[in-house]
Symmetry: D3
Subunit: 314 residues, 6 copies
Amino acid sequence: MFMHNKRLQYTVRVGETNPALASLLLEQFGGADGELAAAMRYFTQGLAEDDPGRKDMLLDIATEELSHLEIVGSIVAMLNKGIKAQLSEAAMAEADLYRSLNAGGDSHTQSLLYAGGPALTNSSGVPWTAAYVDSRGEPTCDLRSNIAAESRAKVIYERLINITDDPGIKEALGFLMTREIAHQKSFEKALYSITDNFPSGKLPGIAPFADMYVNTSQGEGDASGPWNTGEQWERIDDLEEVMPLDDGDGTATVKLSRTEAATAKKVAERLQSDPAGNPTTGADLGAGPGAGKTTGEDMGSAQDIAAAGKAKVE
Amino acid sequence: MFMHNKRLQYTVRVGETNPALASLLLEQFGGADGELAAAMRYFTQGLAEDDPGRKDMLLDIATEELSHLEIVGSIVAMLNKGIKAQLSEAAMAEADLYRSLNAGGDSHTQSLLYAGGPALTNSSGVPWTAAYVDSRGEPTCDLRSNIAAESRAKVIYERLINITDDPGIKEALGFLMTREIAHQKSFEKALYSITDNFPSGKLPGIAPFADMYVNTSQGEGDASGPWNTGEQWERIDDLEEVMPLDDGDGTATVKLSRTEAATAKKVAERLQSDPAGNPTTGADLGAGPGAGKTTGEDMGSAQDIAAAGKAKVE
Amino acid sequence: MFMHNKRLQYTVRVGETNPALASLLLEQFGGADGELAAAMRYFTQGLAEDDPGRKDMLLDIATEELSHLEIVGSIVAMLNKGIKAQLSEAAMAEADLYRSLNAGGDSHTQSLLYAGGPALTNSSGVPWTAAYVDSRGEPTCDLRSNIAAESRAKVIYERLINITDDPGIKEALGFLMTREIAHQKSFEKALYSITDNFPSGKLPGIAPFADMYVNTSQGEGDASGPWNTGEQWERIDDLEEVMPLDDGDGTATVKLSRTEAATAKKVAERLQSDPAGNPTTGADLGAGPGAGKTTGEDMGSAQDIAAAGKAKVE
Amino acid sequence: MFMHNKRLQYTVRVGETNPALASLLLEQFGGADGELAAAMRYFTQGLAEDDPGRKDMLLDIATEELSHLEIVGSIVAMLNKGIKAQLSEAAMAEADLYRSLNAGGDSHTQSLLYAGGPALTNSSGVPWTAAYVDSRGEPTCDLRSNIAAESRAKVIYERLINITDDPGIKEALGFLMTREIAHQKSFEKALYSITDNFPSGKLPGIAPFADMYVNTSQGEGDASGPWNTGEQWERIDDLEEVMPLDDGDGTATVKLSRTEAATAKKVAERLQSDPAGNPTTGADLGAGPGAGKTTGEDMGSAQDIAAAGKAKVE
Amino acid sequence: MFMHNKRLQYTVRVGETNPALASLLLEQFGGADGELAAAMRYFTQGLAEDDPGRKDMLLDIATEELSHLEIVGSIVAMLNKGIKAQLSEAAMAEADLYRSLNAGGDSHTQSLLYAGGPALTNSSGVPWTAAYVDSRGEPTCDLRSNIAAESRAKVIYERLINITDDPGIKEALGFLMTREIAHQKSFEKALYSITDNFPSGKLPGIAPFADMYVNTSQGEGDASGPWNTGEQWERIDDLEEVMPLDDGDGTATVKLSRTEAATAKKVAERLQSDPAGNPTTGADLGAGPGAGKTTGEDMGSAQDIAAAGKAKVE
Amino acid sequence: MFMHNKRLQYTVRVGETNPALASLLLEQFGGADGELAAAMRYFTQGLAEDDPGRKDMLLDIATEELSHLEIVGSIVAMLNKGIKAQLSEAAMAEADLYRSLNAGGDSHTQSLLYAGGPALTNSSGVPWTAAYVDSRGEPTCDLRSNIAAESRAKVIYERLINITDDPGIKEALGFLMTREIAHQKSFEKALYSITDNFPSGKLPGIAPFADMYVNTSQGEGDASGPWNTGEQWERIDDLEEVMPLDDGDGTATVKLSRTEAATAKKVAERLQSDPAGNPTTGADLGAGPGAGKTTGEDMGSAQDIAAAGKAKVE
């Protein structure tokens, strides 16, 4: 059961209204790493968790993230207080209102559709989606996801701090950024309190494939480091030789029933292509008198493209 | 530049067609933890990465995930080979086709719309969205996100292995599952090869808040563990006393210009509510002769609800 | 600031596990009229609201909806407790697990991806989106939207009650359904506490158009009622005569600058179609020997379609 | 069956081209409260409606909304007529075209992707989604949703009128705004023509819970009004005492079969956390020499955050 | 199996950084006609294709599109190289950083959330969705879809070329644009290599309806051309006379079982509307003293709307 | 301006109710190739079109597609007429209602959320999105997109015909399928009435790249056909030799300002990875006593995976 107190967890003192900054801050309200995403991530995990310690921790942090959602939303509401009133009272000339709607970011939608209320969108106006929540019901995965999510949120707060010079906002964002650090620490402790947490799940890996590094991107820039080199790793460089990694022929097959096979044959016949012909096509019909136009002449304003006549393969 | 060889990285041998199983396997094709998500996550990071070692690793693994996308898609194509032909040739009676479309999972859409081709949806038919990709352009975040993503993918493969008894599919999924373990190890090595990787970003936290644990969920079930207890942690239990955590009053304020304040006042007056009255409402109008119906009588088939008359607060 | 107590607002007693029912109940967890939508709707309105009475009410109800989200999520977690353990421990034979995943609804994704944890999707597995939240920052709109949302949620709970025979679930859903009734009453009172609440906003309508009913759907079935007939309404039946409703010619025009007009002319010339010719097309090329096939012969299994030769217009 | 006449329902006279204004007007074309949403809302309800009067009304208004979609789309097409031609003919220098694309709003995508054609997106470029349509197949819900939707649309039109100084656009928007008022009136009449329309659906509420107000948000700012006070309401203030509202213990339980219970136990053991240890974590490894950095020193440009050393809890 | 070489398919030489241009170029990275959409469209078709020639072609072009995705992403990464470093190092004053984030397009989100890394969104920040991929598993459809997709991508590249004056970018975009032309030609050849490719699928059309043109939009502007006139076409102008096109009455009917019919009757009775009354409504309650306000007086800043008193229908 | 007549364009006679079939038919109501997508595609093109002939044709066909939307929706409403009444009246025992909700497809959501009303979702319950509409404001693209869309819709109708044995539904679907053929013909005629329609847009391609075929997918299965072989084509097989296709080095570069370069250097230093070390990682910490578990022993039910010990690379 949730309860609420109208005091914020941290006092919000905004220096002056600024709808464009408000629309940037929405990134942490209704964005991918925002506070709703955080709260819902931990809350849904907490509901399904059976370990009493982890359940308590998840509900503690979920609840705190809701309080952070409230802080970010309150900053947004303050920054938009001017535009909201002016828009609904038509208190400015149309041209001035129009200009203030187009002050930057996606503040136009923020003003027009939400009247400056904190909206559950990111800074581009994309509505929040539960696709951001990656709870999977396996604590050794979920805690890793939480660790990553906290580190992302920390960095987004840092970027917001770097673009703001309002001291009250900077201070509140600094508080929120620091709490993400603390939460990451808690999740780390919880992960490593599970004795055997790697790999996640119950099934072990299959021996030869778990320590193999496949060097699929080659050419200049090939590099080595502890992620692909050293005692642990068997590194595969000669892809064409070694693939497939099993003893098969690298094709995909399925056993079809007799009926399935017969039907498949019919489809194949109906749709077979004639590799030998050179059919006239719709593009041939449509190239018309301009058919010769791929010569590169007459490129209009794009003359620098024509210069690509330097192409090696000509 | 990408190149392709028609051999798969691992041979696919499917025992018999099964559209419903195919639709479950889409989870790892076009789902949140599927191979497209993995490939795109590492590929977009690799393009923006400047560190030569990490760039190479990200491109290596991105490319391998594309090969895994191909393996999963090939299994799906094999499992659907029967339904595809039968549907397009109308080779079965309508009722039989209808039944085989409704065999389970979301195989109906898989068959009807995609004709059994591997579709970039999850196992519920939800189209893949780039909202699954959480690259943030800061390696100490992104590597943590990658570690978490690999552990999630590992577990989904394990669950799919657990519901399949086709040995060829089990074997291919086992290969794919193991590769996720190997990838997680590489990302771990890369993360810890950055000397100072915690907290992510450049700004440190603010001292008192980084080691504070706020016990927001209380009551029976409160627990302690290394995530909230011990030398490191200052734990806050008396929320109402301590909040807000700064020296303010816990409200949100903004300085309005004189014009903004005047306009805000006008809006407030126009929209003020009368707390004293008891207005007739639309619901009052609509309750009609049934206004007395909240007595709980006549609950139709829901008589057990009425028994909730045992509610404490009556 | 939010706080949490581990006791639920209403006790949840589930009779036996049932993943398919769980996936239906998700409609009220992460669906369009579910509890997250309700909580976020009122919370975002509350943050931006200046009227003290409405702000308090919105925060009260938002907070209660979070407690309802917890109740629904807890029921889902209980219903899925069996599948979660069996899937992660591989405790059943593969074929049995496969069958229990395909028990109905979208329980397959629920199990496979979320391991039975309550997921923020609707009953079809569609992730929750903030597009469901229609707060507009104008109380006379928002309260109407809230009234409508509560009435929708009430009805979805009723439908869920009608398909469940587990008394514990029925009782909890009955509680939740009733709370939606109470919330609707509160929002109605708040709406009518604003003296002048219709039409929403500040601008009045333009006289002739506010009482006009345009009878655009005609033919058999045309009906009348208080919504289009009576003293208030001017009803327009002779559309072709009366349109446009202003004194213009019903076209759309814009004044172009000389440059714009000249450029527009060039585009028009480049892309003009020749209305007189009868060009050979791609379809003509492709119709091939089957060009005569629209005779309706050889319809295969679709012979009843051919019978549509009874079409009037032949 | 639909028919179309090329005359608009209201003449559109645009003063001059303006792509940025066009992108704002998309809010009522492909936005949440736009005309497509309105038309589809009423059309889908009309198709399923059995009451002849309501069916006729829904089809009348749905059809009129399509005509409004045409009006809004025509204004957008006119406002974009310049950019469309210039972009496709490359009639301006690149830098000038680039500037006119970035004139404000989301006009860049509007121009680049849609060439100034009216696109079914909102003013932020978010594609229209049927998630905006909240028809539920129960007239007493649906009519309330329609009433709310009309009041929202009215207000968005009012905001657009307030930011436009083109008299032709203002006039057309005024017409559209007024029609929303008329539609709201029709839906109100239709709702109250159903004798017993509250609560929606068939099941009554459960007596004690339908008149109860739960004061979940407390502290300074607690207020009272007809929505929580008066004869009708029983108000719950002492949450911790009274919860849960039934006679249970406020926990969630389920009866597991013997097999389920045994398996659940195994999972719990495998994943149990050790509450007593203090494990070394990934963050511990990563804090490196900067481990002491949470002292708040060296905050770079964020020195004002450091000043948050004033935090009460130190 | 995919392999990668770190050389690009075409060299990228960017003149100077420009985040706003980068955000426009995302249209071809993560937009509807972008390179990921192209690659996934052909790759999913290729996996399911049985015809060896088409399968090879689809995999060839899919793989090349991945190389194009890499080129576009590399241009974006170069254009953003400045903002990325400045944002993460906080190397500029806050106000300057804020300004450079708001340089145009949706560069604010691009910088804030993705730190200038190429993100899989379109130019408005909308995440890529598999809803863009329209593969249907029938080659005569899919090849037509591919032809259309290539022609769209060609045009978007042309528009981007027209707004860029950086010669290196122009050249690379010219290369990419031209490759779309080549790909369209290949798909055209493949389509017409299937002998009987129109209409798609196996079923022929029903004779009278396949050559009928229904003139549903009438009035001034009615036109004729080879698409509706000539020997092939039977054109229907007198809609009201001819409809429905079959010999029925144009209604929708279903045979209900006795139980279904009885239940349907009950619902109808419960929800029937009273067409004769004139009920008081919520809007009537809310119109309050302002009920007379639709007279058009007192329109505030919207006086030009009042002038719409010229409405014909008054 | 749109008008409506309550007669359908084609009479709908449904034999008996069937919610699962209804949910499949939604594919053509709110699915990617459904009638709303078709109507909106042509309508948005028509609004922006300046050529009078094409404008008329687009509005004609758009309007007819709305009539088809009505037909499909009417079939769905008929098929669901039983479930709607039973659900809202609770006319069956709970268990029976539950069973009929889970009859197949996504009929559960269809019933629960939409009460059997036709919903704007596809057959998996995914809400319609304007991302399906690919109008680009260039007729030579848009007509190609329309041709493709019609061929896709034709095929989906064919598949639905193949799974239905209700003659009334089969007949109506046959009508709709045939109209898609007619529409495709019209769009083909309109495309080829533009003299010079290939390539789309105004810019020609750059000579060497427009006739080049890049053989990126090699190995067994390499094939040739008119799409890559013959007089027209220059085919590139030796990718590693020839790439990049210009005279550069295949890298991506940008000229940074001095400040940008300096800041970029700082970031690089802060985040550089140490390629030589072998750091202890979180995974190392977590592998615990199970570190040896990748030996493949103890694979539980997945013993067939262990058999993959046959992997070649061991």
